[in-house]
């Protein structure tokens, strides 16, 4: 009996054990990343797009074609090609886009901030509304608020987002003029803002261009609300079921026995426990949004990752597609890693098992 000597501290006193855990995590990430590279590499070899033709064009002479063939390393055995691919990928070289004639990495660095800004705004809205609504639904289980939240969530989850997007543009932009139309910023501002981070809200704020800031906000509002609504539907649903599970636990009764006020039981006792699995739900929703919601970006002419990838795919620009896939893979791995780390912070039981 008695207490384990290693880990009796508060939440942060367990930090030293994170060192070992971090090592393990890095190893896991490295293996996952390698697997990801193998997949993207193999896809690149399997698709019926001739990478040589993509470089030299279909009117090149035989000698030019052969020279490019060798320059691309395609005469070498497959494992050797993979090794080259690996080396290039690790040094940040994902090849050149056929469409834009620029390095893929540069293209992605240009389009990704647009997606990042939209996705972050979306997930913040989704969490800010989704979690309290889910908690409310769980507390009023089966009552009117619960039903209303469920129906609202169901609509958000099942209505096609492009349809909601078009409808939103029609109502709030065309008719009511509450928000700005498609795009990230009005053309009049486009060249006055220097893009340092690529996140226009931050860039305009840092440069003190408040008119531009408001304009960016007006453009961002509608798509962000839509993505937020979409993730809110899912997050509130999950919050509700996690909360219901926690509210049925014995420790909730114990807290009632102690005379703890109901708000504290809900928001402190139950939610702190429900937060543990919820972190994963939110992180994966965020990853889903970061992938670039193709439909939303198309409807709102949002120059983000989703649109870039769709464009590249339609033009058989394989380097761009594979590079983008790799980036998305990295985002997923990264966010998974982050939620794992948060898990350890939130749940003392996990901390011990490392």
């Amino acid at each position: 009996m008695s207490v384990s000597p290693a880990n009796t501290g508060g939440r942060w006193r367990a930090l030293p054990t994170y060192g070992l855990k971090a090592g393990k995590l890095i190893a896991t990430v490295a293996v996952t990343f390698l697997g990801l590279l193998v997949v993207t590499f193999l896809i690149g070899r399997v698709v019926p797009v001739d990478p040589v033709l993509a470089v030299v064009g279909d009117r090149a002479s035989k000698s030019t074609y052969d020279a490019a063939y060798i320059a691309l390393g395609l005469d070498k055995p497959l494992y050797h090609q993979f090794f080259i691919y690996l080396k290039q990928a690790l040094s940040g070289d994902l090849g050149t886009s056929v469409l834009t004639k620029k390095p893929i990495i540069e293209d992605i660095a240009r389009v990704f901030p647009a997606t990042l800004e939209l996705a972050t705004a979306g997930i913040i809205l989704g969490t800010l509304f989704g979690v309290p609504l889910g908690v409310w639904g769980a507390v009023r289980q089966g009552k009117l608020p619960d039903q209303v939240i469920r129906v609202v969530g169901l609509v958000g989850y099942s209505a096609p987002i492009f349809w909601l997007g078009l409808l939103g543009l029609l109502v709030f932009y065309a008719k009511l003029q509450w928000v700005a139309g498609p795009g990230r910023i009005d053309i009049s501002y486009e060249y006055t803002v220097t893009q340092t981070t690529g996140l226009l809200l931050i860039d305009t704020a840092m440069q003190g261009q408040w008119d531009a800031f408001r304009n960016v906000l007006a453009h961002l509002a509608l798509p962000a609300v839509l993505l937020g609504y979409f993730s809110m539907a899912y997050i509130s649903r999950m919050t509700r079921s996690f909360m219901l599970a926690e509210l049925g636990q014995e420790y909730i009764i114990a807290a009632r026995v102690k005379g703890v006020p109901e708000w504290r039981i809900i928001w402190v006792h139950a939610l702190r426990n429900a937060a543990v699995p919820l972190v994963t739900v939110i992180a994966l929703s965020y990853a889903g949004l970061l992938e670039g919601s193709v439909l939303t970006e198309t409807v709102f002419a949002w120059p983000g990752l989703g649109q870039y990838l769709t464009n590249s795919l339609q033009n058989a620009d394989m380097n761009a597609v594979l590079g983008g896939t790799l980036v998305i893979g990295i985002i997923f791995v990264g966010l998974n890693l982050l939620s794992d780390l948060l898990y350890t912070v939130l749940d003392p039981r996990v901390r011990r098992r490392t």
């Binding site: 384990s4 508060g10 009632r256 102690k258 005379g259 703890v260 426990n273 003392p348 039981r349």
Partner: protein, 277 residues
Amino acid sequence: MTNMLQVEGLNVSFPSRDGPVRVVRDVTFTLGRERLGIVGESGSGKSQTGRAILGLTPASATVTADKLSFDGIDLRHASAKTWRSLRGPRMSMIMQDPKYSLNPVMTVGRQIVEAYRRRGDATRTDARNRAVAMLEAVQIRDPERVFEAYPHELSGGMGQRAMIAMMLIAEPDLLIADEVTSALDVTVQLDVLRILDGLVRDRGMGLIFISHDLRLVSSFCDRVLVMYAGRVVEEIAARDLHSAQHPYTQGLLNCLPQIDGDSGPLQTLTRDPAWLA
């Protein structure tokens, strides 16, 4: 003896597909500053009786009573506010299994402090000191460390004592102990009983001791209620338990092995449907 708690005709029923299931039927008893044992098998309604007194019956169930009063307060129509003022400082319950009844993501100390601060506006350090002292009072050798520990870092016996400390720190007048010793080994059981006994004696607390362990109850309590299928079938002074009248109580007693008894097969309980009438 003044009656702190009066229960008359208490009924608890849960809805089911085949109509309501009555898990507590017409239970009537009173409690002063004494140790009252409630015994019975699993499902006999002991725990639900205890929870009904604290107003903690699940929302799906229906509770009715002719009388349910604590210190002159009618509990049947108590508001949420009244309940909050009662639970903790006035009445409390130690629950069965510390593994489930302590919040896994809060330190033991925080949970005890939370219970103490319900009494009034104690300062942070004050509450902390009281909590540590309370842990010491329940025979925890290393109270500072247990204070900082999370529930999963404690053994069953330690967890149970931490639970007892948490439920007693507000110094309730009425304590319901629901199978508190069932999950513990015998030596720890005795420790825990000693702690409870001391509290009844020193603080004049009323104790309802719920258990399925007939022998333990008869040696520890003043009075015993024997429950069967939601009903109190017998109420008897603990020292007279060996001369119990009801065939169910006798049957339970006969199921217990005797060290100096004959070594033949133990009797099993034969149930009579008439007990339910």
